[in-house]
Chain length 197, copies 2
DNA sequence: ACAAATGAATGAACGGTTCATATACTATAG
DNA sequence: CTATAGTATATGAACCGTTCATTCATTTGT
């Protein structure tokens, strides 16, 4: 029964790959490219030093792969905002909660790291070009403006307000990634006070 | 006239030292201990690779020295809050503006870096022990509570509110140190919305 | 037997530090 | 005022210990 056997083998292979990727994502997001050592990834994944190289060619390959995934994921989340239920404010709250959610947080931070690190692999650079904060804000502005018209959001330059808000959220993520990971999700409503009146 | 001559020489020496320290502070604050290379400091200061070693013994010495200064400076700023004029809200606004001010910003960030970096020199570690975020918040709580009684600040656990606020401000500083330095001082009132009702 | 996993060994690159050399400044002599 | 010597200041290429990404001989499990 070669069929089943190979499928099982492949599945086991993929599971290991995912395990390594998940560990790498966490460390890369926290420490950046040059800040993470392969030994850290191994430890986080609970495997030995060399094993990652049975599943990936290099550190750079893992990093690039993850950045590509992160960009895709982030763009998806942003494009989905308009389809979310509720008022603009509620849409933004949901989006923010998603950003701070354990899974997505690492992706957002990874992109952040990739944007500010040096020596980023070419493949990762390409992916990042498709995702800038400016781009994000452009997609958020219509929602914010609508919220202003409905009277929920404060007056003023939408771009400035949103840049401040996104910076605050990203800054918080960076902070709490370094320190002990508190659960900020409770505090999102406080943060939204930056935007509301 | 040996007096004047020596004084001039000493002054020139101190100026060079300050020049190097200022450059080092900026880079250390942005990139952390292991993230900054002596070559970066040299470039920022507009001097050659080796010159720093005529004025300081080692990279670690510069770092430790700066951390000591930063702790002193930060503690001073915090202790001064109660003496500031105006309501608690105005006191906090002034304090926050001071934190975001170009000079103090780097000091605050440096302490932050020293707290989260690894391989911090012993001398710097000692200085940091005298300055924890918890300590800062302890000093801020009475002000916040007074503001609550006067009706300016929102109800709720002062500790949680202040932790969130400080994290936001620190996160912002980190953000904008990496990116192009926008001038957030305009936005402080927006940030204070996190605390007010 | 074979694949999966280990972790010690390798070797290349990195970066803090040094040092031979150059330049600028000051003082003294002619 | 110019020339010369002496000293402090500055340069940046080279040195060398350390740090990791990567490999591989060996073990473990199936």
């Amino acid at each position: 029964m070669p069929r089943t056997a190979r499928t099982q083998a492949e599945q086991a292979l993929d599971e290991r790959k995912d395990q390594i990727k998940k560990a790498a994502l966490k460390i890369f997001a926290e420490k950046g490219l040059s800040g993470t050592k392969m030994s850290m990834i191994a430890e986080e994944a609970g495997i030995s030093q060399g094993l990652s190289y049975r599943y990936f060619d290099s550190k750079d390959e893992i990093f690039a792969l993850l950045v590509e995934e992160a960009v895709e994921e982030s763009q998806g989340a942003i494009r989905n905002i308009r389809q979310l239920p509720g008022s603009p404010l509620e849409q933004l709250r949901t989006f923010t909660l998603q950003m701070l959610d354990e899974n997505h947080k690492h992706y957002f931070l990874l992109v952040q790291q990739a944007q500010t690190s040096e020596g980023v692999p070419h493949r990762a650079k390409e992916a990042i070009e498709r995702y800038s904060p400016q781009e994000t804000i452009k997609l958020l502005i219509p929602i914010f403006v609508q919220g202003q018209q409905e009277g929920q959001f404060a007056e003023g330059d939408p771009y400035k307000r949103l840049i401040l808000f996104l910076s605050v959220v990203t800054g918080l993520m960076l902070q709490d990634a370094k320190a002990i990971g508190a659960d900020w999700t409770q505090e999102v409503d406080r943060l939204l006070n930056i935007l509301t009146k």
